[in-house]
């Protein structure tokens, strides 16, 4: 194993365990905090893979904005605490499906890219200016589409979430 691979293993174990904790925690706020750990480790994995810009965007947007939104959502809806109030009766079915999906995916990945034969690839370092150039050269149309999507989300969310005087 290379040094990078050791670092990756640590991040993957921490991120994976806290991902499981996100979906099993009995306390909603703990779940949100575990989500932060997972998102940070995913950001770390991006750094190891040479995707610097994506890593910082991950930390700024996901950890900085999305988790905060989640916490606001949990507070504003007075989310309860405890297994029975948080999980439904299909928990075992869910566990079965989750484990099945994981086993299936690992099997398929191992078939397609066998770990023992896999090369340690030279990571591709994408500099921020290369990413920017790519977006504004080749992905102008998706960029515009996303801007409309964000505008619609912003305005729609305000309309729905504001309290009406009438009602």
């Amino acid at each position: 194993m290379s040094a990078q691979e050791y670092a990756f293993t640590v991040l993957a174990v921490v991120g994976g365990l806290s991902a499981i904790a996100v979906v099993t925690a009995r306390n909603v706020v703990h779940a949100a905090l575990y989500l932060v750990v997972t998102l940070l480790s995913v950001g770390g994995v991006y750094l190891l893979l040479g995707a610097e810009f994506v890593a910082w965007v991950q930390i700024l947007i996901y950890v900085g904005a999305i988790v905060i939104l989640f916490l606001f959502g949990l507070m504003l809806t007075k989310a309860p605490i405890g297994r029975d109030t948080l999980d439904n009766q299909q928990r075992w079915l869910g566990a079965l499906v989750g484990v099945g999906v994981f086993a299936g995916l690992v099997f398929l990945i191992q078939e397609a890219f066998p770990v023992q034969d896999a090369e340690r690839f030279e990571t591709f370092h994408a500099t921020t200016d290369a990413v920017g150039e790519s977006i504004f050269r080749n992905y102008v149309l998706p960029f515009e589409a996303v801007s409309f999507l964000l505008l619609a989300a912003l305005i729609g969310a305000i309309v729905l979430a504001r309290k009406d005087d009438a009602s």
Partner: protein
Amino acid sequence: MIRLPLVLMFSALLFSAGVYGVLARRNAVMVLMAIELMLNAVNVNLVAFSSSLHQMSGQVFALFIIAVAAAEVGIGLAIVILLFRTRESINVDEVNLLKW
């Protein structure tokens, strides 16, 4: 210097945890968190392939997914707060999510 399948298996773990969360959680915000895990799995895949193939497109795809995810969480919380205001509960099974 990382072996690609290891990263893909990490992504598979995130995705499966998300699948479990979607099926097992009652609270709409918690379901949304599980879906975010699935979207992270997608991004890990994309960045890993982008890095091993030495191609930019996967990373750009991942950036767009992050932007869309942010928009969706905003939308989701607005709708959830709206539901909470009229119903005092945001449990999806009380919303009869699986009713035929």
